[in-house]
């Protein structure tokens, strides 16, 4: 049901902000969307040209473009299939209905800069990871029950800025700073359900001889496990009562990659676990592409690709048919 959003791989340092070309308002095309999409699974992609392109998930066909953003990065969906777009540059999160072109809610995140988001299906809480760069320490902002008025922030001096977040099915929120500056160690914390503070958390990796995460580019929930996107692999972790346990990994080999973003996961309606993973990337040799892979199998070749109407794709989210 829920498909992860997240954010693309950082390109520049420091701060690892996506190298988006910020298109000034007034020069963008008007948003548009094909009619009759209620019965279609849709894939939403945030792009470097400040557009959000929308595709029919199974047909890989462009069916809409959302505009009027400053710098859209993270993207996520909720159990009602509404899509939330974190506009980093505008310091706000816009909520769109499935297949719609007009936002139905605006979450003011100022003075913080939203990098990614996640919605807890059990409470409707909207969690946003804020990366405020060097101007101030970031935080995790949560809008209770999805109300645009009830915003609470949580900080962690150990972590500083936050880039990714994801809820598990118990209402616990996992957060990370993603790909920070030197010493390039991604750190994690969790917010217990109804908790009052972030708790630093050690996450075991596949190789127990070293346990340093150095390039986390996304966090997701696959329906059964929390999934950490680190370089070319997705690592599944089970978070049980404040202890994290490594479960397994999915390897999806890719072509030359630049700006490779986080993965999105397709969880079928009523399904227990995701069956596909999509990821966006761009490179000098292969251009911009969104690849589809089997999950959790992964593989050496994608099973499908989208390579039109993309510009440095960053975040991905799937909104299922109604």
């Amino acid at each position: 049901m829920i498909v992860a959003g997240g954010c693309a791989q950082p390109v520049t340092a420091p701060g690892f902000l996506p190298s988006a070309r910020i298109a000034p308002l007034g020069f963008q095309q008007h948003p548009w969307m094909n009619a009759g999409l209620a019965g279609q699974d849709l894939l939403y992609v945030t792009n470097g040209n400040a557009e959000v392109t929308v595709y029919r998930y199974w047909q890989y066909k462009l069916v809409g473009v959302l505009t009027n953003f400053t710098q859209p990065i993270g993207i996520c969906s909720d159990k009602n299939q509404n899509v939330y777009i974190a506009d980093y540059g505008a310091k706000q999160i816009l909520e769109y209905p499935h297949g719609g072109t007009k936002p139905i809610a605006t979450f003011d995140d100022a003075p913080d800069s939203p990098y990614s988001c996640w919605v807890d299906p059990s409470t409707g809480n909207l969690a946003v990871a804020n990366d405020d760069g060097t101007s101030q320490q970031g935080n995790v902002a949560i809008w209770s029950g999805g109300s645009t008025e009830k915003r609470t922030t949580y900080g962690d001096s150990t972590i500083g800025n936050f880039q990714f977040c994801a809820y598990d099915n118990q209402g616990n929120l996992l957060v990370t700073n993603g790909s920070p500056n030197y010493p390039y160690t991604a750190l994690f914390a969790w917010l217990p359900k109804n908790g009052t503070r972030l708790i630093d958390l050690q996450i075991p990796e596949a190789y127990p001889s070293y346990r340093t995460w150095y390039h986390v580019s996304g966090l997701q929930w696959d329906g059964k496990y929390l999934v950490i996107d680190d370089s070319y692999a997705l690592y599944r972790e089970s978070l049980i009562h404040g202890q994290a346990y490594y479960v397994g990994a999915t390897y999806a080999e890719a072509q030359e990659e630049y700006n490779s973003g986080p993965f999105g996961l397709y969880v079928p309606p009523g399904g227990e676990q995701a069956t596909q993973v999509v990821d966006g990337m761009s490179s000098n040799n292969y251009g911009a592409v969104v690849d589809y892979w089997k999950y959790p199998a992964g593989g050496s070749q994608p099973i499908a690709s989208i390579n039109h109407a993309l510009d440095k794709p960053f975040g991905l989210a799937i909104s299922l048919k109604k």
Partner: protein
């Protein structure tokens, strides 16, 4: 499969070979230095903790009872004096140390979940043995005084399947595997004086389970609980003085607080006969008491306090009275998990 004893992360500077006849340590006898180890409250930045282990003179020489405590946040194991709970040693080199248990020799077994290894340390912290677990993720252990067997609880299997109990005979690297078909997650366990193993965990739906593997049997059975309920599995220890089980609940009443239950076990099942509530140093309710161990009319263990800003701590509480700790140390812990007494 037994690992080589030159496993670099755990020997020669990581695990101590102290003055009980072992090799020379990095810290000369007569000098007690505190090497840089884990942060008191923050997580280790790099794991395993590659700092050198540290041992005080007291840890190196005294034979009095001590308390081993594992910390999955710092990836270290601490040794505390009893009953004062002063840190007398820090042992590094683990990946994810969790449940502990001890044997009659005073050796302490440590389930390192992410490494899938169970380490045996002497009373003075010397590495004595390693057992490799290829079946699942080991989170706890129990030692059988009647046979010398070591039971290891695997939270879940390597193929993301249900967990199990592995029983290693003395000197064996090949365990026998036992399950309760109704149980999915296996947490903590303890043997009674007759060699029967009790262990807790959860079913596939997350419901609490208490099981028994009777001595000589090939499969474990569910113990139906009456007189109350347990929300999230915690410690399991046989209380010989009371002829009952101590079962911990990490989410007493379904919330963020822990308590202990006394469970009387008969052929008809298990009946909760008492509850013990523990307080932290500030008088509040203990948040997450993961594993404790009976010691001298009390119970020793740690409070992993993720509930509020109260520090996590290792303490000794009266049992079964509970209440305020009689001694505690709140300067060490990050994510304290397991506890075992070495006599």
């Amino acid at each position: 499969m037994r690992r080589s004893l030159v496993y670099p992360l755990l020997l020669t500077g990581a695990l101590c070979a102290c003055s009980d006849g072992g090799a020379a340590t990095p810290f000369a006898v007569g000098v007690a230095q505190r090497a840089a180890t884990s942060l008191a409250r923050g997580p280790a930045r790099f794991n395993p903790d590659r700092h050198k282990s540290w041992f005080s003179i007291e840890a190196a020489h005294k034979q009095s009872p001590v308390l081993f405590v594992s910390d999955s946040g710092t990836a270290d194991v601490y040794i505390y004096s009893l009953p004062a709970l002063k840190v007398v040693a820090t042992i590094t080199g683990f990946s994810q140390p969790q449940g502990l248990c001890s044997d009659e020799k005073g050796n302490v077994w440590i389930a390192d979940t992410n490494s899938k290894v169970i380490y045996e340390l002497s009373h003075h912290g010397r590495l004595e043995n390693e057992l490799t677990d290829t079946d699942g993720s080991p989170v706890a252990c129990a030692w059988d005084a009647t046979t010398g067997n070591l039971a290891v609880m695997n939270l879940f299997g390597t193929a993301s399947n249900s967990g199990s109990v592995l029983v290693y005979a003395p000197g064996s690297q090949t365990p026998a595997s036992y399950t309760n078909p109704a149980q999915y997650y296996y947490n903590f366990g303890g043997y009674d004086m007759n060699g029967n193993l009790f262990f807790d965990g959860r079913d596939a739906n997350g419901g609490f389970m208490l099981s028994e593997l009777r001595k000589g049997e090939t499969s474990a059975n569910t113990i139906a609980l009456s007189g109350g309920s347990v929300d999230f599995p915690g410690m399991v220890e046989w209380n010989g003085a009371k002829h009952d089980l101590i079962v911990g609940d990490q989410s007493c009443g379904g919330g963020y607080q822990s308590c202990l239950y006394a469970v009387s076990v008969t052929s008809k099942g298990g009946r909760i006969t008492g509850q013990t509530r523990l307080q932290n140093a500030s008088g509040g309710q203990v948040c997450d008491f993961i594993q404790g161990v009976l010691f001298d009319n009390g119970v020793a263990g740690s409070d992993f306090d993720f509930c509020d800003s109260t520090p996590s701590l290792t303490a000794l509480w009266p049992y079964p009275a509970g209440g305020a700790p009689t001694s505690y140390n709140e300067k060490t812990d990050s994510v304290p998990v397991g506890a075992a007494v070495s006599k």
